[in-house]
């Protein structure tokens, strides 16, 4: 049943136009934050206008230099990173990076974070005022910053207050990016929805570790890093499905381990309205364009005409014939 060929006729009829809440998207495939920089390095490899959107590297009010090295290592079907949220800071971003993004005609999601309430608000305000930003993607799940950060991403009440505070200072829609390290992902999603978020992105990386037994050292300088890639796809899918079921209609941007059109479709069927592709872009800068075509082909093959038809279309397995224990 696997390994089907796509039928060209069907896939031509597929419409990838879709929307995330009120926000229109040309395709449901966005580049994931931190995996696409500010898009520039990819321009040499792909036509960026073919993307549905781009989520930028996380921006903080001031520039950050990032963590000591080694910052990355490979694990089975995944990788760990501890970049340390290195970024150019709000001012340089608005001045040097946003103009290119604005010109592409794709949905621009600016991922941002602070180190405390004030800097989060400051960042939301500064970015919110700028032209050409479609979404502020608020990263409350920074596994790699030390100070207090954990609570933002794991305690629903704290996330609620933080979200509300940022929503209050800008008209730009805020999507909150949740951490899979939270014990109660549905509680987190409900809290930020309640606080005025226009959607959620999930999942961020999962905190993990790897050890070089020969050197008796962690493979990542900060000991722990964030796990991404296909290894975490089952967890990402589960969390998307849980949130989609608990909060019907609330827009979800799904991610974690998407490498193919089939992976993307799994996320849509689980209930995501759009998806982001992260780690896959490193090995293959053109990954998102390939995945877009694979998704189109697969939808055609399965007679799914629009993205809306795919979203949340998962059915339960038919029940078994009832068992009656012998008396």
């Amino acid at each position: 049943m696997n390994m089907h060929e796509s039928t060209d006729a069907n896939s031509r009829a597929v419409e990838l136009n879709c929307s995330f809440g009120h926000l229109p998207l040309k395709t449901p495939l966005l580049a994931a934050s931190g995996c696409f920089a500010y898009a520039e390095p990819f321009a040499q490899f792909v036509d960026l206008r073919l993307l549905g959107g781009i989520s930028t590297k996380g921006i903080s009010p001031l520039p950050r230099h990032g963590n000591p090295l080694p910052r990355i290592c490979e694990t089975a079907s995944g990788m760990l990173n501890s970049i340390g949220l290195e970024n150019v800071g709000v001012d340089a971003f608005l001045r040097d990076k946003l103009p290119l993004l604005r010109e592409l005609g794709v949905s621009v999601w600016v991922n941002f974070f602070g180190t405390d309430f004030e800097t989060y608000i400051e960042c939301a305000r500064a970015l919110g005022g700028a032209d050409g930003i479609d979404v502020l993607e608020m990263n409350i799940s920074c596994p790699n910053i030390k100070k207090g950060g954990i609570e933002f991403g794991t305690v629903p009440e704290v996330a609620h207050r933080l979200t509300r505070a940022c929503v209050d200072v800008t008209d730009t829609p805020i999507v909150v990016k949740l951490s899979p390290n939270a014990g109660d992902i549905v509680g987190m999603a409900a809290a930020v929805k309640e606080a005025g978020a226009c959607g959620v992105s999930l999942i961020n990386t999962i905190t993990g570790m790897a050890i070089d037994v020969r050197r008796r050292r962690p493979r990542i300088a900060t000991t722990y890093g964030g796990l991404s890639g296909p290894a975490i796809k089952p967890i990402g899918l589960r969390m998307v499905h849980q949130v989609a079921r608990a909060l019907p209609g609330f827009p979800i941007c799904g991610m974690g381990g998407i490498l193919s059109g089939e992976d993307a479709l799994e996320y849509l069927m689980a209930g995501a309205h759009c998806v982001q592709v992260g780690t896959a872009c490193f090995a293959e800068p053109g990954a998102i364009v390939r995945i877009t075509e694979e998704l189109r082909g697969l939808m055609g093959e399965l007679n799914i005409a629009t993205v809306a038809d795919a979203i949340g279309c998962l059915e339960a397995l038919p029940p078994e014939v009832e068992y009656r224990a012998p008396r």
Binding site: G34, Q44, F45, L69, I72, M79, I83, T279
Partner: protein, 267 residues
């Protein structure tokens, strides 16, 4: 010169001594690789499924035209183990050319190319280009290994007329000991002669640290080709940070390097 992502096929997998092997590739379409500078590299990934996600970095050993290039490698971990088993016709995908290479050889300067292990390829290419464009005396190879088998492709340097100084830990060929001993002597000689020299080095990190100290102590221009774990190779992941002195504490091995001025490196 922008990089490209392209499909390649193995043309030849040639085993050398010491576990080293040379892989020759043919690109599916013309790519801007023939002009690659020594030190520039290619990211290569095979049909590895989902277990090994990231491509691996290899210095370009030689790129005779816009469809062909070769690398020199040795089995280190899972990726290179799979590469060692490649046969002609096997496919890989490549991203290249990436990074910033060594400064070109030029008349009036002798570049001392200090190589160890899989650090040979960029210096091999540097010697090839220098011999052709400036003359074989513009470079000299200082090359160290554990034993005779560790020193490969020497015949090329002979053919180009490039002088070589060899060192092995077991003394099986050249001087016994580390290549840095030979380097110190050569610098002394240059000083005595009033010769203008530069140090270009690539190899294991302990060797690079030693070369860096020697170069800085001798106040000679010193360039190091560094290795860091890389996920992308083109400035997207920020994973390959190199600690530097300068306006920012880190620069990037893949896009600012892999060749760095030794004075800049924060070691």
């Amino acid at each position: 010169m922008p990089a490209a992502q392209f499909d390649v096929r193995v043309v030849e997998n040639r085993a050398l001594t010491g576990g080293y092997f040379v892989l020759e590739f043919e690109a599916a379409r013309p790519v801007p690789i023939a002009a690659a500078r020594p030190g520039q590299f290619v990211m290569l990934r095979g049909d590895w499924g989902r277990e090994l996600l990231n491509p691996r970095a290899f210095s370009i050993l030689h790129a005779p035209d816009d469809r062909h290039f070769s690398i020199l490698a040795k089995v280190y971990g899972r990726g290179t183990a799979r590469m060692a088993a490649l046969a002609p016709g096997d496919p890989m995908t490549a991203t290249a050319p990436l990074g910033v290479g060594f400064p070109a050889a030029r008349a009036g300067v002798t570049q001392l190319l200090v190589a160890g292990g899989v650090g040979l390829p960029p210096l091999h290419l540097q010697a090839r280009v220098a011999a052709r464009e400036v003359g074989p005396r513009s470079v000299e190879l200082l090359y160290g290994g554990r034993n005779r088998d560790d020193l490969v492709l020497l015949e090329d340097f002979a053919r180009w007329g490039v002088q070589t100084h060899l060192a092995t830990e077991d003394g099986s060929v050249g001087a016994r000991g580390y290549v840095t001993v030979a380097l110190r002597e050569r610098i002394e000689l240059a000083r005595a002669r009033g010769e203008v020299i530069e140090l270009l080095s690539c190899g294991p990190t302990p060797m690079l640290r030693a070369v860096r100290e020697i170069g800085l102590a001798a106040a000679r221009p010193t360039y190091l080709c560094l290795e860091e774990n890389m996920a992308c190779g083109f400035g997207a992941c920020l994973g390959c940070a190199v600690p530097v002195h300068g306006p920012k504490p880190y620069r990037y091995c893949c896009s600012d390097g892999p060749v760095f001025d030794a004075r800049e490196v924060r070691w």
